[in-house]
């Protein structure tokens, strides 16, 4: 009898105990047994429903609470966010949440997320800034940087993420993100350093796909450490990612193991048919193996899927040259050099070589070579210009009797000694294959 006369709220400690132990059913039973209608009991039932992924039930529980407190407003806002009703979230937080406690970082954070989904990026940024004034958590940092990325303001994004890494230096995903951003935006040396540092931290921890892909591609592209890269990929312990198979294939190809490379690429293609990079690499390898019909097929697919990137068309043209389809080869060369994507050096060079070898139009070839020189002058620091390409260009210039005029010959004169035939180098190009993002869709 004494038990029932007690205040109902005095059992809150019991409910709390059950809840934090994860004994949801017992907790619910206890609440029902005491027929408790207190705030805390409703709140707990709402939380339990949320854990059992019944969001609508949870929201009715939370709204049944009469008192106006930030915790409850926050809970309702989160539920609304889970249900995807973002405009309602904004309304709720602005109308009631922020009036109760204007400096709550979580409220600002939720508000920012909702704005982000509604496409109001500047408001979202504002909200995240507010949120960051009250906290040092990393979630607002991450979303703020994402906002910057949506506005393609990479510098601010990098700045934001860097501040986050200063606050929590051991977060692997954060560091990977920073490294990738640095790498992709012209500060590749710093990015590489960051990623290598990370890879030392997590050298033997398997199963992190994005890190493995990032570190692996850095190793294979910049450090030229194929074994290290392959080891990384193996550590990822995942054979369902097309990007991984693609990168493994490039590793094999750079070791001249073409059969293995082709079969890896085929598996990658099987897993993701719609990726133009895989098609491109496969076309490139088939070109190298002199399987021109297959190469044509893959390159054609790559061209359609990539919306006509000039490099793809250039390779397609070389393929057509070898298939002895002169008119179409010429057409493809022209498309590649005059593409709306801007001038790329490789197509220019390939077209010039084509014109030279077929003895068609010497003036046009010279013009193209000049254009190529312009490209080089503009972007010489870029990795687009590797040694092989410069070599080939030099040889072509010599053949056209222009060698002394070319800009790159005036710098360190290292490539002059070679005087083989002109034709041998012109089919190669960089292996564009290192995608770091995960694929979007599962094909079946």
């Amino acid at each position: 009898m004494t038990n029932e006369l007690k205040n109902k709220e005095s059992y809150n400690w019991l409910y709390h105990l059950h809840y934090i132990r994860g004994e949801f059913e017992t907790c619910e039973k206890q609440i029902q047994k005491h027929n408790a209608k207190s705030e805390y009991a409703s709140y707990l039932i709402g939380l339990i429903k949320l854990r059992q992924s019944d969001v609508k039930g949870a929201i009715t529980e939370f709204t049944s609470i009469k008192s106006n407190e930030t915790t409850y407003v926050k809970a309702i806002a989160r539920c609304l966010m889970l249900l995807g009703r973002h405009s309602n979230v904004c309304e709720l937080i602005r109308e009631s949440g922020l009036k109760l406690s204007p400096n709550d970082w979580q409220l600002w954070h939720i508000l920012g997320t909702a704005y982000m989904h509604l496409g109001q990026i500047s408001l979202a940024k504002d909200a995240f800034q507010h949120s960051l004034q009250a906290t040092n958590q990393i979630e607002p940092f991450l979303l703020l940087s994402q906002c910057h990325l949506i506005e393609s303001d990479t510098k601010s994004a990098i700045f934001v993420i860097r501040r986050a890494t200063e606050l929590s230096p051991n977060d692997a995903t954060l560091n990977t993100k920073l490294g990738l951003l640095l790498f992709a935006n012209g500060m590749s040396a710093k990015g590489v350093d960051k990623l290598m540092q990370l890879s030392h931290l997590s050298a033997n921890s398997p199963g992190n796909l994005s890190l493995a892909l990032a570190v692996g591609s850095v190793l294979q592209e910049i450090k030229m450490d194929i074994d290290g890269a392959l080891y990384r990929y193996k550590m990822a312990n995942n054979f369902e990612s097309p990007c991984l198979w693609n990168n493994v294939a490039i590793c094999f190809a750079s070791r001249k193991k073409f059969v293995a490379a082709v079969s890896c690429l085929k598996r990658a293609l099987y897993l993701n048919t719609l990726d133009w990079k895989i098609n491109y690499n496969l076309g490139l390898l088939n070109l190298q193996l002199r399987q021109f019909a297959s190469a044509f097929h893959y390159l054609k697919t790559a061209a359609t899927l990539s919306n006509g990137l000039p490099n793809v068309f250039s390779l397609l043209a070389i393929c057509l040259e070898n298939l002895e389809d002169d008119t179409n080869a010429r057409q493809a060369h022209i498309t590649a050099t005059k593409s709306p994507h801007g001038a790329f050096p490789l197509p220019l060079l390939n077209y010039a070589i084509y014109l030279h070898t077929t003895d068609m139009d010497r003036d046009l070839a010279i013009e193209l070579l000049m254009e190529y020189e312009q490209c080089w002058l503009k972007r010489r620091a870029n990795i687009d210009f590797d040694e092989n390409m410069i070599k080939t260009a030099t040889k072509l210039a010599q053949a056209l009797n222009l060698s002394s005029h070319m800009a790159w010959t005036k710098e360190p004169p290292t490539h002059h000694a070679i005087a083989n035939s002109i034709n041998d180098g012109h089919a190669d190009s960089e292996n564009k294959g290192n995608t770091i993002k995960e694929e979007n869709q599962a094909d079946c």
């Binding site: 939380l47 949320l50 854990r51 992924s53 969001v55 926050k74 809970a75 989160r78 539920c79 966010m81 889970l82 249900l83 995807g84 973002h86 997320t113 909702a114 989904h117 796909l209 995942n238 054979f239 369902e240 990612s241 079969s263 085929k266 598996r267 293609l269 099987y270 897993l271 048919t273 719609l274 098609n279 399987q291 019909a293 297959s294 097929h297 054609k300 697919t301 790559a302 061209a303 359609t304 899927l305 919306n307 995960e438 694929e439 979007n440 869709q441 599962a442 094909d443 079946c444």
Partner: protein, 508 residues
């Protein structure tokens, strides 16, 4: 000519109808002639004889009201019925590379009774037979077996040949020459398992439990009426006789499969192979079980053994070819399929497979011709749908999205429940540039259709979850990702997504 000699000669020449006529003529004159009577029984049973070892489909009633279940949740790798969660041990059996059948088992090289759906819930089971495609008998005692019985009746002008219900079974059990044909007649022609069982029980008693044939027959009868433990006992005791044939091992294995004890069945086949080394049937059956348990290496080893003894076994060739295909060796698979073609089999499925092998081994010129052939030979809507679906893949491989959409639509015209086609339509819709809201709605409905029709596919759920996350509908995303993970628990990206979403739920 002596009519008996004539009849026997006709029987030996397998002209059963003529033989039965001769017998009937003579029986009209002399109804009690046991020789003619027996001969006629054998004629009639030969006419409708089926290999009851293979042609046997489990009915829904047997499946769902199963009293022989040992554990509701069997340990992994010991059951064929529990939700087939295939641990991706090698890339070849991983769900993202080798697709699964409706049962959730890895797709197999040959269609057999039982490879079709094994419904998971009663609701699903009751829904399934309504569609025209998966005509599954409600129970195995109806359906095909009853049809066999009635068909044999039609050929007789004046009522049934033997009135089984009024037969004095005890008397006939004692007549050695008559009892066995009579048993077969009752079982195959009349399809009256209960009386056959009576006869077998009497006979085995009469032979003082020394005739393995009767024990095996008794076991078969028990199996047919679902008394699996009794069937097991009878067949086991038949196996103790030294002169027992391969049949008994196969039947015992079948009993164990019905009891959902694949490992016991494998043990039986192994014992059988000790006694009859090189018996292809035993090896084939064992290989099938390994395949269903996703142990591809063992399965393929057995199939290769089968081919060593029987080089024209279509099932073995087809399964090996399938395995090579999904292990990135389409060239080798192509050679196996070509072998089947050379042996005279010529149907839509085969041309379809050859077309796919050609495509993946870069022989593009042959591909389209093969698919044209396949479409020409295709005689069922399901197959046509599959062929169009494959064509959509090939067209997509050539980068032509518009044509791929058309092909998928054609697949849906032939079979409007083709879940894979729905899914891929969704994926193509998603990969368009400049997505609008209506595009996304369209995509969603495609994926939802795929998920509703294909209970065995994880892809539509995963894709829906991705859309949900992107558009901020986290609850929708969470529900779908949970479904996807149920079907394929080790999918990497799905797990990552799940962890991201779960955080949102727990941060309240």
């Amino acid at each position: 000519m002596d009519p008996l000699f004539k009849a026997l000669s006709l029987f030996r020449r397998r002209r059963y109808e003529a033989c039965a006529n001769v017998c009937s003529e003579y029986l009209e004159k002399n109804p009690y002639d046991q020789a003619f009577w027996t001969l006629k029984m054998r004629c009639l049973s030969q006419q409708v004889y089926v290999d009851d070892l293979e042609a046997d489909e489990e009915g829904i009633a047997e499946l769902l009201m199963d009293e022989n279940t040992i554990a509701q949740v069997a340990r992994p790798g010991t059951s064929l019925k529990t939700a087939a969660v295939i641990a991706a041990k090698t890339p070849g059996t991983s769900l993202s590379i080798r697709p699964v059948m409706q049962t959730g088992r890895p797709i197999t090289g040959m269609l057999r009774p039982g490879t079709h759906g094994r419904p998971g819930t009663m609701e699903h089971a009751l829904k399934t037979p309504r569609t025209a495609k998966t005509a599954r008998p409600m129970t195995s005692s109806s359906g095909r077996f009853v049809r066999l019985g009635t068909a044999s009746m039609l050929s007789q002008r004046d009522g049934p040949f033997i009135n089984v219900a009024r037969l004095n079974i005890r008397k006939y059990a004692t007549i050695c020459g008559v009892s066995k044909p009579l048993f077969e007649y009752i079982l195959f022609v009349e399809n009256d398992v209960r009386h056959a069982l009576d006869l077998a029980a009497e006979s085995t008693q009469f032979h003082q439990f020394k005739d393995w044939w009767w024990k095996l027959s008794l076991g078969k009868c028990y199996y047919k009426i679902g008394m699996l433990r009794d069937a097991e006992n009878q067949i086991r005791s038949a196996l103790k006789h030294n002169e027992c044939t391969v049949d008994a091992f196969l039947w015992l294995g079948k009993v164990y499969i019905r009891m959902d004890q694949p490992l016991a069945a494998l043990e039986v086949y192994r014992n059988g192979l000790d006694k009859f080394p090189g018996e292809t049937f035993l090896m084939t059956y064992a290989a099938r079980i390994h395949e269903a348990l996703a142990e591809m290496d063992e399965s393929i080893k057995l199939y290769k053994d089968v081919l060593r003894h029987d080089a024209i076994n279509v099932e073995a060739i087809a399964c090996i070819a399938m395995n090579h295909f999904y292990n990135d060796q389409p060239e080798i698979a192509l050679r196996y399929y070509r072998r089947i073609l050379q042996m005279g089999t010529c149907n839509a499925e085969l041309y379809n497979n050859i077309g796919l092998c050609c495509y993946y081994s870069q022989q593009f010129d042959m591909t389209i011709t093969c698919f044209e052939r396949a479409l020409m030979y295709s005689d069922s809507d399901e197959t046509t749908a599959d062929i169009w679906y494959n064509l959509a893949h090939i067209v997509l491989g050539a980068g032509d999205r518009q044509l791929a959409i058309l092909c998928n639509r054609l697949a849906l015209v032939s079979n409007n429940e083709h879940p894979e086609a729905y899914n891929n339509l969704g994926v193509i819709e998603m990969s368009k540039q400049n997505l609008t809201t209506s595009n996304i709605q369209q995509t969603k409905s495609f994926f939802q259709a795929a998920g509703a029709n294909g209970k065995h596919l994880y892809e539509p759920h995963y894709n829906l979850a991705l859309i949900g996350e992107k558009s901020g509908h986290y609850d929708f995303c969470y529900q779908n990702i949970k479904k996807a993970l149920e079907l394929y628990p080790t999918h990497y990206s799905a797990n990552e997504l799940f962890n991201r979403i779960k955080k949102l739920y727990e941060s309240v």
